[in-house]
């Protein structure tokens, strides 16, 4: 009996992605819960049914399998360890058996099917770089939730950098692992974390930024471990020296990325904010980055008139100078004012709103954030916090 060949399979997936891009914007719920699982379920059943014709490798290098299992466990532990720093909150997933089953079918089955499809095409086209690239790109595109791209600008940005960047990173890693081992390696690596998220009643309090960073960096760490530690293909001394240099470069890049992420998250004593207005000119201007120092509650009580504080009102960070301090009903209230503003700020600041005190600023480097803020908020004019 004739069976669907690799390239025909790619064409079917390409057509499905094209239809998906148009359909999902019309009914995202129907797509996510019915159409997508049905499509990938059908592909999975077909491939497994015809497994012998595709010559998929069931055998897997035991050493690689154990390594990927341990890496997956470390990934999950590291991920949940963040919860001990930032706290945990209740998972939105329902945990009765039927709901777990439904979530597995709608969320995990497509991933399993995608990895089997990758295995079928990759293992039979190992030396055809063009097919490998097309397969990787198509399977990355197949995983994107295009419905999320019709949300507001800010949510689209968050989705792209927390999820899509991770899908791209994981997709490339999966092709690499499939080339080096078998489809079981990416299946284990990719499902482990997702299953844990589906079944545990609490999840760490991470935001899109941390989630995106983990999703992007984690596959890269796996790639480095496999490439330079587990699969030592070349015993040539010169090549090994080159590998050592590469390892150092990767380690430096990842260390720099993690340090930057920690700095942005405010894990260190100093934290940056981008300045959106000229209300503190000439001390600092719109587009500058202010680095503020976080203080303990006791230290906060000692801040006095003339100090520039960074505080939050609603969803905004503001850096203004204290012009008056008074006590009302036992609560200390700080009156603040921008140096270039004519009047003091309307709302008085309480101690729990203060994030820290101004330490220093760096000129101009906050402009990309300011432009992005304006873009997210549909603002074209300058924002003045008066």
């Amino acid at each position: 009996m004739k069976y669907v060949k690799d390239k025909e399979l790619l064409i079917i997936i390409a057509i499905y992605i094209f239809i998906t891009m148009n359909l999902i914007t019309k009914d995202m719920v129907l797509y996510m819960n019915v159409i997508n699982p049905m499509f990938w379920g059908t592909i999975l059943i077909y491939l497994v049914w015809n497994i012998k014709k595709y010559y998929i490798r069931f055998n897997v290098n035991k050493r690689y399998f154990i390594a990927i299992f341990i890496i997956s466990c470390v990934h999950v532990v590291a991920y949940f360890y963040i919860g001990f720093i930032l706290g945990f909150s209740k998972s939105p997933y329902n945990h009765n058996i039927l709901s777990i089953l439904k979530n597995i079918i709608t969320r995990l089955l497509p991933i399993i099917s995608i990895e089997i499809t990758r295995a079928v095409i990759v293992t039979r086209n190992k030396n055809n770089k063009l097919v490998l690239v097309i397969t990787t790109v198509l399977l990355i595109l197949a995983e994107i939730n295009y419905g999320a791209l019709i949300m507001n600008r800010q949510e689209v940005f968050q989705y792209i950098f927390s999820d899509v960047a991770g899908i791209v990173s994981a997709g490339i890693l999966s092709t690499y692992l499939t080339l080096k081992g078998s489809y079981l390696l990416p299946v284990v690596y990719r499902l482990f974390n997702k299953v844990i998220i589906l079944i545990l009643p609490v999840l760490p309090n991470i935001n899109w930024f941390i989630s995106g960073a983990i999703n992007v960096i984690s596959p890269l760490v796996v790639y480095i471990l496999f490439k330079y530690e587990l699969i030592k293909e070349n015993k040539d001394m010169r090549k090994q020296k080159e590998n050592l240099k590469s390892k150092i470069s990767y380690t430096l890049a990842i260390s720099f990325s993690i340090t930057l992420i920690c700095f942005m998250l405010g894990i260190f004593k100093h934290e940056p904010i981008a300045i959106l207005s000229n209300s503190m000119a000439p001390t600092f201007n719109r587009g500058d980055i202010v680095i503020f120092e976080k203080l303990e509650e006791e230290q906060l009580k000692e801040i006095s008139i003339g100090t520039i504080i960074v505080y939050t009102i609603g969803d905004q960070n503001i850096a203004h100078r204290i012009v008056d301090v008074k006590k009302e009903n036992g609560t200390v209230l700080y009156k603040t004012k921008g140096d270039s503003n004519n009047m003091a700020d309307m709302e008085q600041v309480q101690i729990n709103q203060i994030k820290g005190v101004y330490a220093f600023h760096i000129k101009y480097i906050g402009f990309p954030s300011v432009f992005l803020y304006d873009f997210f908020n549909n603002k074209e004019a300058e924002i003045e916090i008066k």
Partner: protein
């Protein structure tokens, strides 16, 4: 090989830098909760708050909301005064949601003891793609005989939805 290494490192740094710029642009607009890792699927959020039925001379205060919390500061003048707030919630994800818990917490330490509140119309189920709204009515106790010194109260509502069965 060197090219591949440079591309990977370059791509990593570019992505992390763009993420950092984005994070800095709306750092304070984030709601820390456990749903960040399922963006797109789970997206139940508060999308608006407005006022109606404000008694004469009362002030509804600044209205603030994040994805999961809503805060307002109601200033009422005399017994019997009322302000009603209408809060809209949208399920923009792909998972049907059901109301798990609603917590309305008021600032008892600094707020007026004569100010009371009640919540009505909160839908227990919120299918994917739909919106619902509910009202929080803040009332100055009409039976209050003495006018207290403080006539305002800050109220924060936390609305918790979970996946429907």
């Amino acid at each position: 090989m060197r090219n591949i290494k440079n591309i990977i490192i370059g791509a990593l740094l570019v992505v992390i830098l763009i993420m950092s710029v984005g994070y800095s642009a709306f750092a304070t607009q984030l709601t820390l909760n456990g749903t960040a890792q399922i963006i797109g699927e789970w997206n139940v959020k508060i999308t608006g708050i407005e006022t109606m039925n404000i008694s004469e001379g009362c002030d509804a205060g600044p209205l603030q909301f994040t994805n999961t919390t809503v805060t307002f500061n109601a200033k009422l003048k005399k017994p019997g005064d009322v302000i009603t707030y209408v809060i809209t919630i949208e399920n923009a994800g792909t998972i049907d949601a059901t109301l798990e818990n609603i917590t309305i917490a008021s600032d008892e330490a600094n707020g007026s003891p004569a100010i009371m509140y009640e919540t009505t119309g909160l839908a227990s189920s919120l299918p994917a793609g739909e919106k619902t709204s509910f009202t929080v009515t803040v009332k100055y106790d009409p039976n209050c005989t003495e006018v207290p010194e403080v006539k305002e109260k800050t109220i924060t509502g936390i609305i918790e939805y979970v996946q429907a069965k």
